[in-house]
Structures are given as structure tokens and as C-alpha cells.
């Protein structure tokens, strides 16, 4: 049996080694989510051919590998989104961090406070990344203690993706014939009733199973009331505040009245919107490009696609947002050549910030934002306020743990009818124990 198993194994080993490209001068590892599409875009280096987050970042890497003069090879490791941070922290905890990693701005404090990421200010100056070109909100998002800790890549936030035809049909239009969005919770419910009555379609489609979307909507509504879920100064959770109760109440009212389907997951919600079964899809900036492309398809049920900033229901403009940023994890054995290679790649990414913005995300460079090609992208004029009303949690640690527990608890109010007060009380308790450590440091 030994021989029987060993022989093919040896042959496979030979095959595997043969298939590995010869070691380049400098190989750096890139750790990212956005999905895996290395097969689809195996040898594509033409950015114009790339579509969607995965395609664009993959082609950017391909292009860099093909064109850089320093013999740098970026080896992408794409990790499925749901386990990305588990993997990243496992790698960092295991002392085998990647050379470059993508991250959300909200996660950065965890790493920055522990000294797990390389400070980049000086390096950016060296390789020529112009920090002053970052829009202020983006720059602040990656700054702490007077230092820059990451390359901001985008600003993404929630949008309301709208099927204009259904709004017209329901008569929910303003004087210009454009979809009219609600300005208060009561109006939202009225509109939803009208939509149901006149078109027979649901007003909202929102991924509600195993998805953070409703929680992001909830956060937006909390902030619109002038509240928050944490007190950044005292590092205390405020999950049982009246703003929090109200935002959760509204979500549940919508589900209960059938204005949104509580059983939809991401795919199903998106499908409901694309097939004209729902008037509004609550999803992020990353969907714009995809839905616009869908609407151009003559067979699509969605014909008149428009985008809207998050409507203000409570008086204070706010919408949940976050950023994708690139960090260089601190290595236990620093390697100057790898560091330089990684910085070269960051510079390359920054130079191509516009291409990333094609996904629908907002670019972070003032020069790109103001550029003509940016303005030429479809629908961008429809959500200009988002950049200014984008809100995130205060820069505290453990945001991801907080969000995870919040998502779990909130989801269970509509999925298993957990009493809302109980869900918030549970969240409050769990959040407090998380924040306790944040206070202690």
C-alpha cells in the first residue's frame, strides 16, 4: 500500500513543483476578499475588460505583475468574505501575516492599537503617494496618533437602489416625475402601503438572513435620530437607547407588514429587485455598476434603474459607510525588499483609484473625484450627497465583534421573533463585555 500511495503522490509532487513559476526577484503576498475570479481573468491585463470588484482588483494585480519593472510578483490569496477576518487574524496571530492585506476602516483600530500594521506616512512620501490628495474623510479614516496607517481605497456606503418604473406606477413621484422617497418613518410606511396597493409589489428588498444589511440600515437610522450605539468617550454601549429601539422597531414593522421579505438572503433580495418584484433594494455602492449593466439588458425586468442617497427619515442626514483600505501587516522578520515591493504595489493601486471607483464605490482621491472620467460614470450624479453624509462608528476597537453580535441579535428579532427588548438587552450586555477590554487598555 505504501508504494501504491507514494508513487502517485511523488508524481503529483513533481507536477506541482513543475507548475510553480520560477521564483521571481520579489514575491509578495496579497490577502484579500472580493471573491475569487483568477480563472475567469487568468491572463487579462486590460482594465477595460474587468467588471465588478473581483474582476477589477484581479486585473489590477495581473496588470501590475505584467508591467512592473522590478520583477515583483504579487501573489493573490483570495479569501471568501465570510471568513476573511478569521483568516487574516489567524495569519497575524500565527505570526505569518501576508505582506499586504485589504481591510475595512472599521477594523483598522484593532490592528493599529496593537502595533500590527506598518506606519505608512514616511513610506508614502518616499514612493510618491500624495496623502494630501485623499479626501479628508478618507484620510482621517486611516489616521491615528498623527500617523497614516493604511492606503484608503474607497468610501462605500448604503444606497437605495430604485426601480423607477414601479415608483411611477405607484404614483410615488415628485413634480419632475422622479421617484419620491420618504422623509419620515410614517411616510415610509405610507409609501410602502401605496406601493403594495397600486403595484402589488413589495416596497423594499433587503438581504435579511445571515447578512449585515439590515443592521447597517438600523445604524443609519440611529444616527439620523442623533443617537449612536457606542459612546466613544466613555467606551460604553448605548444599545438600549430610545434611538436604538426606534430604529429596530421600524425595521420590524416593515417586515411584519410584508414590505420586506424577512427570508431573503443576499442573492434572493437582489433577485427580487432585478426581477421587478421590489421597488427599492437596500444595498451598497458596490451594486451600482452591476445593476446598471443589468438594466441595459433588454431582457431584464428592471428597466429604469436609478440610485438614491439614503433618505433622511429622522432629521439628521447620515448613512452607514465604511472604507476598503490596504495595510502592510508588521512582519516578525522585516524584509526591506518586500516592503519596498509592497509599497510599489500600493502606489500602483492608488494610481488606479479611478478604476476601483468604477465598481460604484466612491474614490478617495480628490483629484479622481473631480475628474471628468469620474463624472462620466453612470448614475454617479444620483448619489452625490453620500460622500458628505457618510458616517461610521467612532474609531474604537472590536467594531467587528460588535457588529457581529449586533447582526446576530437584530436578525433574530425578525427571523425567530425574539422580543426586540431582549435582543437589545443581550446586545448591550455582550457589547459591554467587549468594550470593557477596550476601556482597560
Amino acid at each position: 500500500m505504501t508504494m501504491k500511495t507514494l508513487l502517485p503522490a511523488t508524481m503529483l509532487l513533481a507536477a506541482a513543483l513543475g507548475a510553480t513559476p520560477a521564483r521571481a526577484a520579489t514575491e509578495i503576498s496579497l490577502f484579500r476578499f472580493f471573491g475569487g475570479c483568477s480563472d475567469e481573468y487568468a491572463n487579462v491585463t486590460d482594465l477595460s475588460k474587468a467588471v465588478g470588484e473581483c474582476g477589477i482588483i484581479q486585473v489590477l494585480a495581473n496588470k501590475f505583475n505584467a508591467e512592473n519593472k522590478d520583477g515583483i510578483v504579487v501573489k493573490t490569496q483570495s479569501v471568501e468574505w465570510g471568513v476573511y477576518y478569521d483568516r487574516l487574524s489567524a495569519n497575524v496571530a500565527g505570526r505569518t501575516p501576508p505582506d499586504i492585506a485589504v481591510m475595512h476602516r472599521s477594523v483598522l483600530p484593532n490592528y493599529q492599537v496593537r502595533g500590527l500594521v506598518e506606519p505608512l506616512g514616511k513610506h508614502f512620501a518616499t514612493v510618491g503617494v500624495d496623502v494630501a490628495d485623499f479626501v479628508p474623510v478618507a484620510r482621517e479614516g486611516v489616521s491615528a496618533n498623527g500617523e497614516i496607517w493604511a492606503l484608503p481605497f474607497d468610501l462605500h456606503s448604503l444606497l437605495w437602489h430604485v426601480n423607477a418604473d414601479l415608483f411611477v406606477k405607484a404614483g410615488l413621484v415628485d413634480e419632475k416625475g422622479q421617484p419620491k422617497l420618504p422623509g419620515s418613518p410614517e411616510e415610509l410606511l405610507r409609501h410602502a402601503e401605496t406601493m403594495k396597493a397600486r403595484t402589488g409589489k413589495a416596497y423594499l428588498a433587503i438581504p435579511s438572513q445571515a447578512d449585515p444589511m439590515p443592521t447597517w440600515q438600523y445604524l443609519s437610522w440611529v444616527w439620523q435620530q442623533g443617537g449612536n450605539i457606542v459612546d466613544a468617550e466613555k467606551r460604553e454601549a448605548l444599545l438600549e437607547s430610545k434611538e436604538s429601539r426606534e430604529a429596530l422597531r421600524l425595521l420590524n414593522v416593515l417586515y411584519a407588514a410584508g414590505h420586506a421579505n424577512r427570508k431573503h438572503d443576499y442573492t434572493a433580495a437582489q433577485q427580487a429587485f432585478l426581477s421587478g418584484e421590489a421597488a427599492v433594494l437596500i444595498n451598497g455602492t458596490w451594486g451600482v455598476d452591476v445593476y446598471a449593466a443589468q438594466a441595459r439588458n433588454p431582457n431584464s425586468a428592471l428597466k429604469n434603474y436609478v440610485v438614491r442617497d439614503m433618505p433622511n427619515l429622522y432629521g439628521k442626514e447620515a448613512v452607514w459607510s465604511d472604507s476598503h483600505i490596504w495595510v502592510l501587516p508588521k512582519q516578525s522578520k522585516p524584509d526591506a525588499a518586500k516592503l519596498k515591493a509592497a509599497l510599489t504595489f500600493l502606489k500602483f493601486l492608488n494610481d488606479h483609484n479611478f478604476h476601483w471607483a468604477r465598481t460604484g464605490h466612491l474614490p478617495v482621491r480628490a483629484s479622481v473625484l473631480a475628474s471628468a472620467e469620474m463624472r462620466a460614470l453612470p448614475h454617479r450624479s444620483e448619489y452625490t450627497r453620500t460622500a458628505t453624509i457618510a458616517t461610521g462608528l467612532p474609531p474604537i476597537q472590536y467594531q467587528r465583534a460588535l457588529m457581529d453580535l449586533l447582526i446576530n441579535e437584530l436578525n433574530s428579532t425578525w427571523l425567530i421573533n425574539k422580543p426586540q427588548d431582549k435582543a437589545l438587552a443581550n446586545s448591550q450586555r455582550a457589547a459591554s463585555s467587549i468594550l470593557r477590554r477596550s476601556r482597560r487598555r
Binding site: 500500500m1 506541482a16 471568513v83 489567524a90 495569519n91 500565527g94
Partner: protein, 274 residues
Amino acid sequence: MNRTFGDRLILVLVIGAAFVWMMPMLWVLSLSLRPNEELVRSTAGILPWPKTLEHFATLLRVSLTPRWLLNSVIVAFGMTALTLLLSSLAGYAFARIDFPGRRAVFLLVMAGLMIPEQAILVPLHAMLADWEMHNTYFSLIAPRLAGPMGVFLMTQFFKAVPRELEEAAELDNASRLKIFWSVMLPLSRPALTTLGIFTFLFAWNDFLWPVVTATQPEMYTLSVGLGSLQGNFAMSEGLGFLMASAVFASAPMVILYVVFQRYIVQGITLTSGK
């Protein structure tokens, strides 16, 4: 004994159940042999196949699967060989050498049977992180050598070997090591085979520890690698590919099972301490 109607009925029912039992496996095998374009349309039916081997070709060509296979082979063989060595050495000492503190040490070791792997997962990770040893074959193998089950089995086995054999060897001027190596080890072939197969199965299928310690795809074992593919497969276009990975990962076990079925079934009674 006459086959009664009842016996026949039971047999028919069990055959039906076995067919249902095998369905998932056969279906997955069938999916792995059908082109993706067809699978997008329909996944129904089991026949006709095989239609294509493209998924397996892709598997070997573009993915890391061969590398994972290699890792699994190294880990499984390494763990098996070392477990056999350590367990038989220790088992021999416990069964046959009368040294002070034997009883206490044996109890201490057997107490380890009570410690589930999950209970030490986190500290073990912290420890190997301190050593900067994650993502190595060492980290995949070494912590799995500490389990006392093999020692227990080998102790039981060696205790059952007639003492005279060893005494004869002692009279034949054999040293302890010589007795162990030339007499006891060859004698324990059946026990070693059983323990070896079980260790191999365990190593091959191990998930919890490898998923924690192997964080870089190059160091995944097949089991972990397959797990990493699973995340978004419901939407995946490459369903056939995914199923081919599953078939690929389990094929060595199926072969092992077919060849060693007798030992495996025997071994179960052994491992249960009967």
C-alpha cells in the same frame, strides 16, 4: 437455517436503505463527471456518466489541490509513522518494563484521554504562535502525536504478548532495544496495522487543528482546502469542479477502506477498549 419470509423482507428493506445511503456519494461522483454548462441547467439524475474528466484535469492543472494532496500525504504518513513509533515505545515500557513510578506515569498519561482537543486548541495555537511555527509540517503533525490512545492500545497489546517470548530473547542475549525491535515490534504487526490505519484515517480527515494552524493555502491539507472552497459554492459556477475536489479528496480513503476494511472493522472494537 431456512430463510423465512421475515428474513427476506428485512433484506429487501436494507438493500433499499443501502441504495438511499449511497445516493449522495453516487450523485456527487456523477456531478463531478458532468460539464458545468450542463450542471447550470440541471443537476438531476445520476446517469449518464462519465461525460467529462475536465474537472479533474482542471483540479490538477490550475488549483492548489495537488499541493494539498501532497501536504495530506506528508502529514498522514508522518503522523502515522511517528505515532506508531512513539506509541509502541511507550506501550512497551508500560507493559513490560518495571520501572519506579510506572503506575503513576501511566495514570497521568491515561488522564490525557479525558482532555478533548478543543480544550487545548486555543493555548496550543498561542504556543505555536510564540514559536513562530504555524504553517509548517511540524505544527500540523507534532501536536497530534501527544494523544494517549495509541499508547493505550499498544500497552494493552504488549501486555497480551506471552512473557516467555521476551524471556527467551533475554536468554538469547538480546538487549531491551533489541527485544523491542526484533521480537516485540514484528509481533505487534496486527496491532500496529490497526493503529496505523486509524491514525492515517484520522490524520487524513483531521480538520479542527489544521484549520487553525494552516492559514496559508500552500500549507492546507486536502480537508482544510476543501473546506475553504465551500464558502460560496451555492452560487458557484464551478459546481462540477467542487464536486471533483470532493471526489479527489476522498478517493485515497476509499481505496484504503477497500483494501483494509477488515482491519478497520476490527480496529473499531479495539479502539473502543473492549
